[in-house]
C-alpha cells in the first residue's frame, strides 16, 4: 500500500508531524493575522528570522532556536518602533525585513556548506526535519494553543475594536506584542515546512478559504486548521511521489484550493 510506504520512513513521519503541527498553528494564528491586517508584518518577521538562523549557523548553535529569537525580537521591535518612534509601521517592517535577510545570507555564506541549507531555509525542506525539531514545534504549538484558549475574548476584542478595548482597560499594546510574538513563533515553525519565501501563503490561504465558507470565529478556525492539514498531507504526498520540493507542493495545493474556492463562492 502506498500510504504505508509513505509513512514507513522516519523522516516522512517527522515531516508529517511537523507539517500537521504547522497547519494547526497557522490555522489559528493565520486568522488573527488576517483579522488584524498584519499580513505584511508577518512576512517581515519571517524574513527577519533569517538573520537569526544565519547567526545560529555561524556560531554553530541550533539555527531554529536562533531563528525564533530573532523573529520574536523583530516582532517586538516592529511593535515598539511603530508605536513610539516617528517611523511608520511599513517602513519599519521594510527595514527589519531586508536587514534580516542580508544578515542571514552573509552569515550563512561565511559558514561552511551553506548552499544546500540556504536553499532549504528559503524554500523549505520539511523532509530534513529532525526529531528535536518536531519536539520543539509540538511544544510551540501547544503553548500557543493554550494562550489562544486563555486569551480568546481578549484577542477577539483586540482584533475587532482596539480603540474601544483600550478605553475599557484592555492592555492593548501588551496584547499586540503578544500576538506578534505568537506570529513570530508560528512563522519560524512554518519556515521549516515551506521556507521563508512561502510562509505567508500558508499563514493566510487556509484562513482565507475558511472565511469564504464558515461563519463565526471558532468555526473559521476549525475549518482553517482542517484545510491546512489537508494541504500539508496532499503536498507531502505529491512531493514524495513526484520527488519535488515539499514547500512548493504544499503551497501549490493550497493555492489551487484558494482559486477554486474563490471561483465557486463568486
Amino acid at each position: 500500500m502506498i500510504e504505508l510506504n509513505f509513512l514507513s520512513y522516519e523522516f516522512m513521519r517527522n515531516a508529517l508531524l511537523a507539517g500537521l503541527a504547522a497547519a494547526v498553528l497557522c490555522g489559528i494564528i493565520g486568522i488573527y493575522v488576517i483579522l488584524n491586517r498584519i499580513v505584511f508584518i508577518s512576512d517581515g518577521i519571517a524574513h527577519a528570522a533569517f538573520g537569526g538562523i544565519g547567526l545560529g549557523y555561524f556560531l554553530g548553535y541550533d539555527p531554529l532556536a536562533f531563528g525564533i529569537g530573532s523573529a520574536v525580537l523583530t516582532a517586538i521591535g516592529i511593535g515598539l518602533t511603530s508605536s513610539r518612534a516617528r517611523v511608520s509601521e511599513d517602513t519599519a517592517i521594510g527595514v527589519f525585513m531586508a536587514t534580516g535577510m542580508a544578515l542571514g545570507i552573509m552569515l550563512l555564506t561565511l559558514s561552511r556548506g551553506y548552499a544546500r541549507d540556504l536553499y532549504g531555509y528559503l524554500f523549505g525542506n520539511i523532509l530534513a526535519v529532525t526529531e528535536s525539531d518536531v519536539l520543539l514545534i509540538l511544544i510551540l504549538t501547544l503553548v500557543i494553543l493554550v494562550l489562544v484558549f486563555l486569551l480568546y475574548k481578549e484577542l477577539l476584542l483586540l482584533s475587532f475594536d482596539p480603540i474601544y478595548g483600550q478605553a475599557i482597560g484592555l492592555p492593548v499594546s501588551g496584547l499586540r506584542l503578544l500576538l506578534l510574538s505568537m506570529v513570530a513563533f508560528s512563522v519560524v515553525v512554518l519556515i521549516k515546512v515551506v521556507g521563508i519565501i512561502m510562509v505567508i501563503a500558508l499563514l493566510t490561504i487556509p484562513g482565507a478559504i475558511s472565511r469564504q465558507h464558515m461563519k463565526g470565529l471558532p468555526s473559521i478556525m476549525a475549518g482553517s486548521v482542517i484545510l491546512g492539514c489537508v494541504f500539508v498531507i496532499i503536498g507531502l504526498f505529491i512531493s514524495y511521489d513526484l520527488d519535488v520540493p515539499s514547500g512548493a507542493a504544499i503551497i501549490l495545493t493550497a493555492a489551487v484550493a484558494f482559486f477554486l474556492s474563490t471561483l465557486l463562492t463568486r
Binding site: 475574548k153 482584533s159 482597560g169 464558515m214 463565526g216 473559521i220
Partner: protein, 260 residues
C-alpha cells in the same frame, strides 16, 4: 452642612482646572465641569476643539497636564467598570466574523477582566442590554449584516452591558441617516430618563443635541458651560469665533432654538 437626602443628586463627575497639552499646543485650557446623576450633557464645538480629548481624559486614556478629574470620586481609570463608552464611528471590517451578541459581550471586559471567561451572567446581561436598545432579535446576526444605525445601537448595548452609571458617547450619529438619528436620540433619552443613566454626548450635530439634552456646553479649547441648556450668545461667539447670527441661522452651525 445638611446631611444629604437619600435621593439627593450624586456627583458623578468632577473636573477641576484641567489642562491638556500636546507638545506646545494647548488642547484643553482650564476646564471645569461637574455632572450629577440624571444629567444628560451635550458638548458641542468646532472640529479640533478638543471634544474627543476631553472624553478620553474622562476615561483616563489621556493624563492631564494640570488639574484633576474624578469619576464617582475615583481616578477615571479606576472607575471604568461604571463608565460605558461608545467611541467615535467604530471602524471595523464589515465581514468581521462576529455575532452581535459577542460584540455586546466585549463590554463585560471592564467587569470580569483578563483571563476570566464569560459566564451565564455575562450572557444574560448581554441579552438585557440588547433588549434595552431594541436589538434583541438581532443577537445571532453577524455585526456586518446590520445597518449603520443598528450597529450604533449595538455599540450602545455594548457600553450598557457592564451596567454603567455614566455613558460617554463620541459623535455617535456620524454616518447614520437622519431617520435613524432621530430614533437613536430617542433611545438615549429613554436611557437617561427611564434607566437613570447620566450621559455625556459629544457632537457637532447642534440641532439634535439642543433638542434632546438637559444641559449643554460648548467646547473650543475652553469650556463654556452654565449648568443649564442655555448658552449665551457671547459664549458661542467665543467658542466658534464667528458671529452668533451665523450660528443661529446658518444651517451647519445652528445651536440656538429658532426665534419664536
Amino acid at each position: 452642612m445638611m446631611e444629604r437626602m437619600p435621593d439627593a443628586l450624586e456627583k458623578i463627575l468632577s473636573i477641576r482646572d484641567l489642562w491638556i497639552c500636546q507638545g506646545e499646543h494647548v488642547v484643553l485650557e482650564s476646564i471645569n465641569l461637574e455632572l450629577f446623576s440624571g444629567d444628560f450633557l451635550g458638548i458641542i464645538g468646532p472640529n479640533g476643539g478638543g471634544k474627543s480629548t476631553l472624553l478620553k481624559a474622562m476615561l483616563g486614556l489621556i493624563k492631564p497636564d494640570r488639574g484633576e478629574i474624578s469619576v464617582f470620586g475615583l481616578p477615571p481609570a479606576r472607575a471604568r467598570s461604571r463608565i460605558g463608552y461608545v467611541p467615535q464611528k467604530t471602524v471595523f471590517d464589515r465581514s468581521f466574523p462576529v455575532k452581535v451578541r459577542d460584540v455586546v459581550l466585549m463590554g463585560r471586559y471592564s467587569r470580569i477582566g483578563l483571563w476570566h471567561r464569560y459566564g451565564p451572567e455575562d450572557r444574560n446581561c448581554a441579552l438585557l442590554a440588547l433588549k434595552a436598545v431594541g436589538m434583541a432579535d438581532r443577537a445571532e446576526r453577524e455585526i456586518g449584516a446590520l445597518s449603520g444605525g443598528e450597529q450604533q445601537r449595538v455599540f450602545v448595548a455594548r457600553s450598557l452591558v457592564s451596567d454603567p452609571d455614566l455613558l460617554l458617547l463620541d459623535e455617535p450619529t456620524a454616518g447614520i441617516d437622519s431617520a435613524q438619528q432621530t430614533e437613536f436620540y430617542e433611545l438615549l433619552s429613554h436611557l437617561n430618563r427611564d434607566l437613570g443613566k447620566a450621559i455625556v454626548l459629544v457632537s457637532h450635530d447642534l440641532t439634535a443635541v439642543s433638542t434632546y439634552v438637559s444641559k449643554i456646553a460648548c467646547l473650543n479649547q475652553r469650556l463654556y458651560y452654565h449648568s443649564s441648556r442655555e448658552l449665551s450668545n457671547e459664549d458661542i461667539e467665543k467658542a466658534y469665533g464667528c458671529p452668533v447670527e451665523m450660528i443661529a441661522h446658518g444651517t451647519p452651525h445652528r445651536v440656538l432654538r429658532e426665534h419664536d
